[in-house]
Structures are given as structure tokens and as C-alpha cells.
Amino acid sequence: MKRFVMGLGALAFAALLIGALLEPLPVSVDLRAAVTNNMASSGVEHPVTAVLLNFRGYDTLLEIAVLLLALIVILAVGIDTASDQPRTVNPILQTLARVAAPLVIVVAVYLLWAGAFRPGGAFQAGAVLAAAAVLLHLTGLLPSWQVPTRTLRWGLTAGFLIFLAVAAGLLSQGALLHYPPAQAGMLILLIEAGLTISLGLILAGLFLLLSREPGDDA
């Protein structure tokens, strides 16, 4: 009964929304033209990267803070220390993972570099790096993280701090994140390189900090 009412409500809301969407919409602002016109001074050639790191870079800065924060929340909630024994795994898988990991790192670096002129960038590259860490963990080559050491904490935070430092440093240009067009490309690459490493660690951490060895109940 409850499910039926919920379903009916959702259906009614969907119908209302579709009905509203069919109405003619008022004159609106077209941001595509603005993005295209300002691409030349953005320092990159791909519009998505330009929006993420330049036009709306401030949103991205806060989003990185949200990701870092998510990891801190997981640490703060506190996970009972699980046993850290490597699982018994297939040596063939381990060999394959050993071969794959360096390749994955090369792919990540390519994605980072490609972000300037085609789909790619720090988020994608970081995700690929994190996938490598997860792969190594699942094949028993990388233990799960219990309490991050100071070096690891630096690594997790470095990308965000570099971004923040560049953003605040550019206040000398008159505004937060106000890149001078000539140096914009280089600064964006610097930010993205830092973010790739930190995002890789953060995303891997979201998995490795929560990871349980089989047979653990905690």
C-alpha cells in the first residue's frame, strides 16, 4: 500500500514536470556563446576543462574540498581496525596486476595531459590512478589503509592546497583565480597535476579505508 502511494506520487510528480517542460520557455541567456568567445584567453582548448578550471574554477575548488572532506569524515567516524593479512590470491592475477599498474599510470598521465584539448583531465586521471590502487589491493599487493601516515596526509591534501595557493596567489591579479591569459595554460596544468595525485589517493582511500578482509565482521 505504502509502495503504491509512493509510486503514484512519483508518477504524478513526473507528469507535472513533463507537463511543465512542454510549455514554451522564456528568453534565456546562452552561455555557449560566452564560453566560445572566451576560449582564447582561457589557457586551454577544451571547453569542459575551460569551464571546470577557469570560468567556474571556484566551484571545482570547493568540490575538491568536499571530496577531501568525505575522506576525513570516514576517518572521523572511525573504523575498527581490521586484520591486515593479505588474502590468498592467484599468482597469475598478481603478475597481471604488476604488469597493469605501470600501464595504468601511463594512461593516467596521458589523460591528464589530454585534458587541455580533448575530454580528459584531473578527475579522470585521478580515477584511473585510484583504480590501479584498488586493483593492487584486491590482488593482495597493497594492504588496506588503517590510519594514514603524515606523508599520506600530505599527499591527500597537496592537490587541494596547490589549487588553493594558486587561487589565492592570483588575488594579486585582482580576483581569486584570475589567471593572466599568458600563464593560464601552465597554471591549470600545475593544478591538474597536483589534483591527479591527490584525487587518486582520495578516491583510492575511499575504498581502501573501508575495505575489509574477508571473514571480518567489524
Partner: protein, 474 residues
């Protein structure tokens, strides 16, 4: 003004790098500097009489993101820093070394303050969503930190509420972007008219419901008492005093900003939040009167006090309503931070958290009881406290516009508040056998609470400057 966002982000990150339980001096230093900056910004806006802005990236809306501070934002920023600084001193004494609950308090609190400051400064609907996420996630982390199963359950419920609230808000922003092609408030405001398509109405409704859920307005208050009542005292104080006010600020900002033409086209809409606010006052007060545990009493009192904020919506057409709302935000923020901090001291001193067990507390921690009494005065709305000023202004605006039922509700709410405040004070003043071992309490815990309570009273005497500042609305 940009440093108000950058500074907390910096000290939060550095506190995380320093390691569990460390970074309190960074935090207190950073907050002291932020307080100076917030005062500076408020004086600048007060003297200039106009809003100030900052175009991030130098692009300007609609391509880039704008930050803007008018009198309302400046007042909220000032309140945030002025409450966070004493609470940081309090928290530095509250958490013992190696306390699991305090391990990550400083980074989480830093991101929380950064989220609040960024929210109050933002003039971009999507950017506001990001700040809401920062704020909500940090708040959930603080509630859950190192707690037992019950506390984590309360945090999960809070997480659910805050995520649903954010999702509704984001859906609204997406619809607005679909209709107008922009998320900048300054660009959007002239585009929205009373003949706006139904899509915009739906978007506005979704955003309103999402933000009400985050503000814990009755009947969306279900998550608040366990989360605020179960968290450690400094966290409860931060959440009750500031976090729920952020989403209220946003409702007010959108209500008098881009969505004003829609509200003007359907004036009855303003009575919806007012009706819910009335129910919140009575329901919250009733639950506070019946509560067994001290912190639950205070948490239900928050539900009730939030109700007053929503009484101002039908009065916004006349003068003084925004000022009345902001005065209530200040009064409740300062008083509730003080009262939660005082409750933390009482719990430490008596070793338990029921109201019945408070007997004789007056002999052990007289200053804290005095704090509790002062903050209680503000909650009841006795002169000369800021709570009195806030209630007076609501009543004045209500009578000026002929809405006398609102005035009656405010008076009745004040009486109910007196009942639950005196319940605690009466118990604390009872004579109790002095054979129990009293735990010594650090003055660093008692004095910040007293400062907050005293501020909530003294603000009543210096309310005029604040009123003038809030009058500068962009």
C-alpha cells in the same frame, strides 16, 4: 572578504596534515583573524551603505561566479565568526588528548566554517549548492565522529535528511538553468516575472522544500533532536547556532530576491512557512517541556525557536520584518551556543545528562548556571536581551500590518520557553547531599559559554547598529 573563505580552508587542511587531535592553535588563530575580517567587512558595508562584490576569475556573471556581500550577508558572517571563536576555545578544552571524538574535530570544523562563509558570500545558485554540500557533509561528520552506534545512527538520519534536501535544491537549480540558462542570482532576478512558466514555480517549490528540510522546520524536524542532542557539546552548539541558520538565510535570500515576483503573485504562499513555524513553536516547546535528558530539551528548544524565524514571511511586505528575523537569528544563535556549551559543562560536572540529576549543580558550577540563566532569558525573550528585541520587532511588525494572531503566538511561545528553562534552573537550585565527588571543570569551558550568553543579552542594548546593517539589502 575572500579571505573569509580561504583562511578556514587553509587551517582545516593544515590541521588535517598535522594529525588527529592537533591544530587547535591554528584554528583559534585563524578564527581570531576571521573575526577581525568580518568586523571590517561589516563596518565597510555599514559605512558605504552599499553591497560589495567580487568577480571570481575576473569573468563576471553569467560566465563566471560572483560573490556578493550586502548587509544581510555581512551580519551572518559576523555572527558566524563571533560564535565560532568562543566555541573553538571551548572545544580546545572540551576534547581530551586521545579522545576519539575529537581526533578530526578541527579539520571538520574548519570545513564547516568555510562552507558557512562561502554560502553567505555566494551569489550563484549552483555555487550555493556546492557550499551546502560542504556544510552538510562537515556537519554529519562532526555528529558521527567517534561516537557509539546511537550517535552514528543519528548522523545517518541527518545525512539522509541533508542529502535529500540538497538533491531537491539541486533539482530546482537544474530546472532554473533549463528555463533561463543561468544560475547567477544577479542575472536571474530581472528575468523572473510573475508570468514565469510553471517550470519555475516547480523549481522554486522544490528548492523551498529542500531548504526547509535542512532548516528542520516542523514537520521536517525529525532528524534534528537526535543529531543535535547526541553530538558532543561543542558540535551541538555549532550545529544549533549556525548550521540550521544557513539554510534559513538562503530561503530568505531567495524569497526576497529572484523569487519575489512569484510570491507577489500568490501572497497566500507566505502563510505556509508561518503556519509551519507556529506548529514548530508549540510542538518543539511541548517536547522540550517533556524531555528527560538535558540536551534533548535544548535540541527541542531549537526546533521551537526556529519556528519564530518563519513567522516573518507574511510580514516581509512591511518594514522591519527582515530585521526582526535576523535579530532572532542572532539571539537564538548566541543563546543556543551558550546553552549547549553550558550543558556540556553541567554534564561534565555531574557526570550524567538527565535533568533530574542536576540537583545541587548550583553549588558546583555557579558561573555555568548563571550562563544558563542569561541565555534562558534570551530564549524566553525577557528585556533587555536580544531575544526580547527580536520578539518585540515581530510583534510590532505584525500589529502594524494587522496580523495580531502572530503577536499572540510569539507571546505564547515565550511563556512556553519560560516553562522549560525554569524546569532546568529549578532542578539545579535544589539542595542536594554534597557527598558526591564533584568533577572540577576547566575555566576554559565555563568562560566562553558565559561570553556567548552575555553577548546575547548585551546585543539587545546595541541592536540599532545591527538593524541598520541588515537594512542594506542588495
Amino acid at each position: 572578504m575572500i579571505w573569509l573563505i580561504v583562511l578556514p580552508l587553509v587551517w582545516a587542511s593544515l590541521a588535517f596534515i598535522l594529525g588527529p587531535g592537533r591544530g587547535k592553535w591554528l584554528a583559534i588563530g585563524g578564527l581570531a583573524l576571521q573575526t577581525v575580517l568580518a568586523f571590517d567587512l561589516a563596518t565597510k558595508i555599514g559605512a558605504g551603505g552599499t553591497a560589495v562584490g567580487h568577480l571570481v576569475g575576473g569573468w563576471g556573471a553569467p560566465l563566471g561566479i560572483d560573490l556578493a556581500a550586502d548587509g544581510l550577508s555581512a551580519a551572518m558572517l559576523l555572527l558566524t565568526q563571533c560564535i565560532a571563536l568562543p566555541l573553538a576555545v571551548y572545544a580546545s578544552a572540551y576534547y581530551k588528548r586521545d579522545d576519539a571524538a575529537g581526533s578530526y574535530f578541527w579539520p571538520l570544523a574548519g570545513f564547516l566554517i568555510a562552507g558557512l562563509n562561502a554560502l553567505f558570500l555566494s551569489a550563484d545558485l549552483f555555487n550555493i549548492y556546492v557550499t551546502l554540500e560542504l556544510l552538510g557533509l562537515a556537519a554529519v561528520g562532526l555528529v558521527a565522529a567517534g561516537g557509539g552506534a546511537q550517535q552514528v545512527a543519528a548522523a545517518l538520519r541527518y545525512l539522509f535528511a541533508t542529502l535529500v534536501g540538497s538533491a531537491l535544491y539541486l533539482l530546482g537549480v537544474a530546472l532554473i538553468y533549463g528555463a533561463y540558462g543561468t544560475v547567477s542570482i544577479s542575472v536571474l532576478t530581472p528575468l523572473v516575472t510573475s508570468e514565469a512558466p510553471r517550470l519555475v514555480w516547480i523549481a522554486g517549490g522544490l528548492m523551498l522544500i529542500g531548504l526547509m528540510l535542512k532548516t528542520a522546520l516542523w514537520p521536517f524536524h525529525f532528524w534534528l533532536p537526535p543529531a543535535h542532542g547526541g553530538a558532543p557539546a561543542p558540535v551541538s552548539a555549532l550545529l544549533s547556532a549556525l548550521v540550521v541558520k544557513a539554510s534559513f538565510y538562503l530561503i530568505l535570500r531567495l524569497w526576497i530576491g529572484p523569487f519575489a515576483p512569484l510570491i507577489a503573485a500568490a501572497e497566500w504562499l507566505a502563510w505556509l512557512p508561518a503556519a509551519l513555524g507556529t506548529l514548530a513553536i508549540f510542538w518543539g516547546s511541548w517536547q522540550a517541556i517533556r524531555a528527560e535528558r538535558l540536551k534533548m530539551l535544548i535540541a527541542y528548544s531549537t526546533v521551537a525557536q526556529l519556528g519564530y524565524l518563519f513567522l516573518i514571511f507574511p510580514l516581509l511586505a512591511g518594514a522591519g520584518a527582515i530585521q526582526a528575523g535576523v535579530m532572532q537569528v542572532f539571539a537564538h544563535g548566541l543563546a543556543k551556543a551558550a546553552i549547549f556549551a553550558a550543558a556540556g559543562v553541567l554534564i561534565k560536572a555531574t557526570g550524567q545528562d538527565t535533568i533530574a540529576g542536576l540537583a545541587g549543580a548550583v553549588n558546583r558550577v555557579p558561573l555555568t548556571l548563571f550562563t544558563f540563566g542569561l541565555a534562558g532569558m534570551t530564549l524566553m525573550g525577557l528585556p533587555p536581551s536580544s531575544g526580547f528585541l527580536a520578539k518585540w520587532q515581530i510583534i510590532e511588525a505584525a500589529l502594524a500590518q494587522g496580523h495580531w494572531p502572530l503577536a499572540v503566538i510569539v507571546l505564547a511561545g515565550g511563556l512556553l520557553a519560560a516553562v522549560y528553562v525554569f524546569r532546568v534552573l529549578r532542578q539545579a537550585f535544589l539542595l542536594a547531599p554534597r557527598n558526591e565527588e564533584a568533577t572540577a571543570v576547566s575555566p576554559l569551558l565555563e568562560w566562553p559559554a558565559f561570553v556567548l550568553a552575555a553577548a546575547s543579552i548585551l546585543l539587545g542594548l546595541r541592536g540599532v547598529e545591527l538593524m541598520q546593517l541588515v537594512g542594506i539589502v542588495a
